[in-house]
C-alpha cells in the first residue's frame, strides 16, 4: 500500500461535510485501509467555518493533518479553500464548490466577500476542479445533496473508483435519500478532472 493520504473537507456548518467524510471513511475501511477521521461538533456548527479531516493508508496515527501535507482539499464553499490553502501539499488538488455563503460580518458590511476567488486560486494552485455542486444537486431535486456531488468528484481525483461507493452510500443515508445521493455521486464523479 502507498504512503498515507490526507483529505481536508472545509465548509460552513450545516453543509454536510460530516456525511461526505463518513461515506468516504466507511468505503476506505471496507477496502482494507486504516482510516482516521476527525471532526468538530458544537459551537462551530452554527454557521461557523468547519473542517473534517480524513487520513488513510496502511497505518495512520494522527487524526489531524499537518500543514503542507494535504492531498486534496474539498471546499464546500468557495472562499473556504483560501483559508486552508497552506495545508495543500505540492501538486495537491482542490475540489471547490462554486457556491458562496456570506457570513453575518459581510451581510452587515463589516467585511467584504473576496472577489474572483476561483480565478485567483487557479492562479496559484494549478490542480483545481471547480464544480457547481449546489446547482447540480438542486437540479437533481435537493440542494443538500451537494455534499455527495463533491464526494463524487473527490473519488475521481483520488482514483478510488474501484470501491463500490453506491453500496456504501446505500448503507449510510436514509432509504428515501439513497436514489438522489447515488445520482449526486455519479454527477460529481462524471465531472471533468484534469
Amino acid at each position: 500500500m502507498l504512503d498515507s493520504k490526507s483529505v481536508l473537507f472545509v465548509g460552513v456548518g450545516g453543509q454536510g461535510t460530516i456525511l461526505a467524510s463518513k461515506i468516504l471513511t466507511e468505503g476506505l475501511l471496507k477496502s482494507g485501509y486504516d482510516v482516521k477521521m476527525s471532526e468538530v461538533h458544537g459551537m462551530a456548527q452554527r454557521g461557523g467555518s468547519v473542517t473534517t479531516q480524513v487520513r488513510f493508508g496502511e497505518k495512520v496515527y494522527s487524526p489531524l493533518i499537518e500543514k503542507g501535507k494535504v492531498d486534496v482539499i474539498v471546499s464546500f464553499e468557495k472562499s473556504e479553500a483560501a483559508r486552508y490553502l497552506s495545508y495543500l501539499k505540492k501538486d495537491g488538488y482542490i475540489v471547490v464548490n462554486d457556491y458562496e455563503i456570506h457570513p453575518v460580518p459581510v451581510l452587515i458590511g463589516k467585511e467584504k466577500y473576496p472577489e474572483n476567488v476561483n480565478e485567483r486560486l487557479t492562479d496559484v494552485a494549478h490542480n483545481i476542479v471547480v464544480i457547481n455542486a449546489a446547482e447540480i444537486a438542486g437540479n437533481l431535486g435537493n440542494i443538500k445533496a451537494q455534499n455527495v456531488v463533491l464526494l463524487g468528484a473527490l473519488i475521481k481525483v483520488l482514483k478510488l473508483e474501484s470501491i463500490n461507493w453506491e453500496a456504501v452510500i446505500s448503507s449510510i443515508v436514509p432509504p428515501k435519500a439513497i436514489e438522489i445521493n447515488k445520482r449526486a455521486f455519479k454527477a460529481g464523479n462524471d465531472s471533468k478532472v484534469e
Binding site: V35, G42, G68, V104, L121, V124
Partner: protein, 588 residues
C-alpha cells in the same frame, strides 16, 4: 471479529455495553454528548439524561452502591458541577463498578475554559485511565470496570475532543453478562460522617498504594522501544501525534493509566533513553510528577501549555522542522463567527432588547450565548452554566450599593440550563428581592449540543413519554408574582416588544418566558417545510433594516437584498421589521 469505524464516544459507549454496564446517567456537554446517545441504543441497558452533572453523578453513585455497573459522562466543566459527590464517593468506593468519563476540550472548540481534568484524579484520590484512540476507548472501558471493582474505587476515564470526535477502526466483542451485585447495608462504607470518614481516608491512602503497584504492571502502561536517542513519555491523543512525527525514531512510554502513575516503569524507561521528552496537552501533569521524582526531562520548556497540540507543533518544538508550504493566496476568506441559525426563536427577544442601550445583559451557556454576536450585541457577561441569573443578581446589587440606577439588568437562560442550575438563582432573586429581569428562552430541547431531551421536552433519552415541566408554574412556585410574569411567542415581535418594555420598567423580580420550539427539531422542520419569506424587489427600498435581525438567510449582494430559500424557514421576523412591507410569507 468484525471491524467497524467508530468515534471515541461511540467506542466508549460500546465498551461500557460490552463490560456489562447496566445504568448510565449524564447531562449533555460537548465533546461528551454522543456517549450516552449511543449507549442508550443498546439492548438491556438503562440510560437517562439528568438535569445536571451533579444529579447524574449521584444517580450513578447510587446505582453503583446498589450493585449495578454504572457510567456517568460529562464535559470537563461538568465535573466541576459534580465535584462534590466525586470527592466523597472516592472515600465510599463502589459495589458495582463505577466509571466517570470526563471529556476535556483542549483548544476550546466548544467550551469556556481549557481546564485539564487530569488533576482531579490526584485531588480526589481516584484511579484514572486515558485512551488515545477508539479501540482503546472500548478496551480501556472494559478494563476500567475490572479495576473499579477489584480496587473498590471509581475510575476517572479521561478523554479529549480529538479522542471523542475522531473516528478509527474498532474490533467489537460480545457483551459480558454481569449480574447486579447484591446490596447490603454497610453504614461504615456508605455514610460519610466524620467517625466513618476518618478511617476511610486511611483506606483511601492504602488503596492508592495498591493502585500504584498495579499501575506498574498493567498492560495499560506500555514501553515501545525504538531508537533510544529520543525517549517520549506521553498519554492520550498526544501519543498518536508523537508516533506520527517520530515513528520508530524514538522510544515511548505510553501511559494508559495516568493515576497513580507507574513510577517504577518511568524510572526504568528514563535510564534507557538519551533525552527524555514529556509530550502532553495543556498542563504539565506528567512532567511535574516526573521532575519531582528527580528525573531529568524536557516538557513545557518547548511544548506549549495553551491550545491543543498537533503533529506540526511537535515537529517544530522537538525537531526544529517546519513543513514546506507550497501555496499561498491573497484571497482573504471572510471571518465566520457562529451565529443564531435562520429562524432561531431566540432572535426575537434579543432583537428587541438590542434596542435598549441602558441594559446590562447577563448571559448563559447554550445557543443563546450567541446573543452576544453582531449585529445583536446584547450580552455583557457569560461565565458558566446557570450563572446568568445569579451573576445578574450580583451586578444589580453592585448597582444598588453604588447608587447607580441608569442600567437595568436582564438575565438570559435557556430551558435546559434553567433546569440545570438556574432555578436556584431565580429563587435567590425572589428571596432577597433583587429586581432583575430573567428571560427564560424555552425551546423545549437542549439545543447547542444537538437536541437532547430535557425535563421540558416530554420525552426521555430512551424515548418514553414523560411529564413536561411547566416553566411558568415553576417560576410561580419560586415566588415570582403572577403580575411579573410574561409568556410570549418570540416569533410575534409586537407581543415580545411589549413584554420587554414592561420588564424594563419593572421594579420587582420579573420573568419573561419565550415559548417556541427550536427551528431545527425534526417535527418543526416538517411542519414548516415550504414556508418561506420572500422579498418583493419592487417594494424593497434597500434600507437594510431586516439585516439588523442578524438572520444568516438574508443576503445583500450587488445592491439587492434577498432571502436564501434553502435556509429560510419562514419565521417571519424580517417581515415584521420591514418598514415598507416588502417581505411576504409564502407556502403556508
Amino acid at each position: 471479529m468484525k471491524k467497524v469505524i467508530m468515534s471515541g464516544n461511540e467506542a466508549i459507549a460500546r465498551g461500557a455495553y460490552e463490560a456489562g454496564c447496566h445504568i448510565a446517567s449524564a447531562y449533555p456537554g460537548t465533546p461528551s454528548t454522543e456517549i450516552l446517545e449511543n449507549f442508550a441504543k443498546y439492548e438491556g441497558v438503562y440510560a437517562e439524561w439528568a438535569p445536571n452533572e451533579k444529579v447524574a453523578f449521584e444517580v450513578a453513585s447510587g446505582a453503583a452502591i446498589g450493585g449495578a455497573r454504572t457510567l456517568t459522562t460529562m464535559k470537563h466543566v461538568g465535573l466541576n458541577v459534580a465535584a462534590d459527590p466525586l470527592f466523597t464517593m472516592a472515600y465510599e468506593g463502589v459495589n458495582g463498578g463505577f466509571v466517570v468519563v470526563t471529556a476535556d476540550d483542549p483548544g476550546m472548540h466548544s467550551s469556556q475554559n481549557e481546564q485539564d481534568n487530569r488533576y482531579y484524579a490526584p485531588h480526589a484520590k481516584v484511579a484514572m485511565v486515558e485512551p488515545s484512540d477508539s479501540q482503546e476507548c472500548l478496551d480501556y472501558m472494559k478494563e476500567a470496570y475490572e479495576i473499579s471493582e477489584k480496587f473498590d474505587t471509581l475510575i476517572l476515564f479521561r478523554v479529549t475532543t480529538r479522542v471523542c470526535h475522531s473516528k478509527s477502526a474498532v474490533e467489537l466483542g460480545e457483551r459480558k453478562s454481569v449480574a447486579v451485585r447484591p446490596y447490603e447495608k454497610n453504614t461504615k462504607k456508605y455514610i460519610m460522617i466524620p467517625a466513618h470518614s476518618k478511617p476511610k481516608h486511611y483506606e483511601v491512602e492504602e488503596r492508592l498504594e495498591a493502585l500504584r503497584q498495579y499501575s506498574n504492571i498493567t498492560p495499560l502502561n506500555r514501553i515501545e522501544m525504538g531508537n533510544t536517542k529520543i525517549g517520549i513519555i506521553t498519554s492520550g491523543i498526544s501519543y498518536q501525534y508523537s508516533k506520527e512525527v517520530f515513528g520508530d525514531n524514538a522510544s515511548y512510554l505510553k501511559i494508559g493509566m495516568s493515576y497513580p502513575l507507574p513510577d517504577e516503569m518511568i524510572r526504568e524507561f528514563a535510564t534507557k533513553v538519551e533525552i527524555l521528552y514529556i509530550i502532553e496537552e495543556n498542563e504539565p501533569y506528567l512532567e511535574t510528577k516526573i521532575k519531582a521524582m528527580g528525573i531529568d526531562c524536557i516538557g513545557k520548556e518547548i511544548i506549549p501549555i495553551c491550545d491543543e497540540l498537533n503533529p506540526d507543533i511537535l515537529r517544530k518544538a522537538i525537531l526544529g522542522e517546519v513543513n514546506t508550504i507550497t501555496y499561498t493566496t491573497d484571497v482573504q476568506a471572510p471571518s465566520r463567527p457562529p451565529v443564531l441559525c435562520p429562524g432561531c426563536p431566540h432572535r426575537g427577544i434579543f432583537y428587541h432588547v438590542s434596542k435598549y442601550k441602558d441594559i446590562i445583559a447577563s448571559g448563559d451557556i447554550g445557543c443563546y450565548t450567541l446573543g452576544m454576536a453582531e449585529p445583536l450585541n446584547v450580552t455583557d457577561v457569560i461565565t458558566c452554566m446557570g450563572a446568568s441569573i445569579s451573576a445578574g443578581t450580583g451586578i444589580e446589587r453592585a448597582n444598588m450599593v453604588a447608587n447607580r440606577n441608569d442600567k437595568k439588568v436582564f438575565a438570559f437562560i435557556g430551558d435546559s440550563t434553567f433546569f440545570h442550575s438556574g432555578i436556584t438563582g431565580l429563587i435567590n432573586t425572589v428571596y432577597n428581592n433583587t429586581p432583575i429581569v430573567t428571560c427564560i428562552l424555552d425551546n423545549r430541547i437542549t439545543g447547542m449540543t444537538g437536541h437532547q431531551e430535557n425535563p421540558g421536552t416530554g420525552k426521555t433519552l430512551m424515548g418514553t413519554p414523560s411529564p413536561m415541566i411547566d416553566i411558568e408554574k415553576l417560576v410561580l412556585a419560586c415566588g415570582i408574582k403572577a403580575e411579573n410574569i410574561r409568556v410570549v411567542d418570540p416569533y410575534k415581535l409586537e407581543e415580545t416588544k411589549q413584554a420587554v418594555k414592561e420588564a424594563h420598567d419593572s421594579t420587582e423580580p420579573f420573568v419573561i418566558i419565550t415559548k417556541q420550539p427550536c427551528a431545527l427539531i425534526k417535527d418543526v422542520l416538517k411542519a414548516r417545510a415550504g414556508i418561506k419569506c420572500v422579498i418583493d424587489q419592487e417594494k424593497c427600498k434597500k434600507c437594510k433594516t431586516c439585516l439588523k435581525t442578524g438572520c444568516p438567510a438574508l443576503t445583500f449582494r450587488d445592491g439587492v437584498v434577498s432571502i436564501d430559500s434553502s435556509m429560510c424557514n419562514g419565521c417571519g421576523l424580517c417581515k415584521q421589521v420591514c418598514p415598507f412591507k416588502a417581505i411576504e410569507k409564502v407556502g403556508e
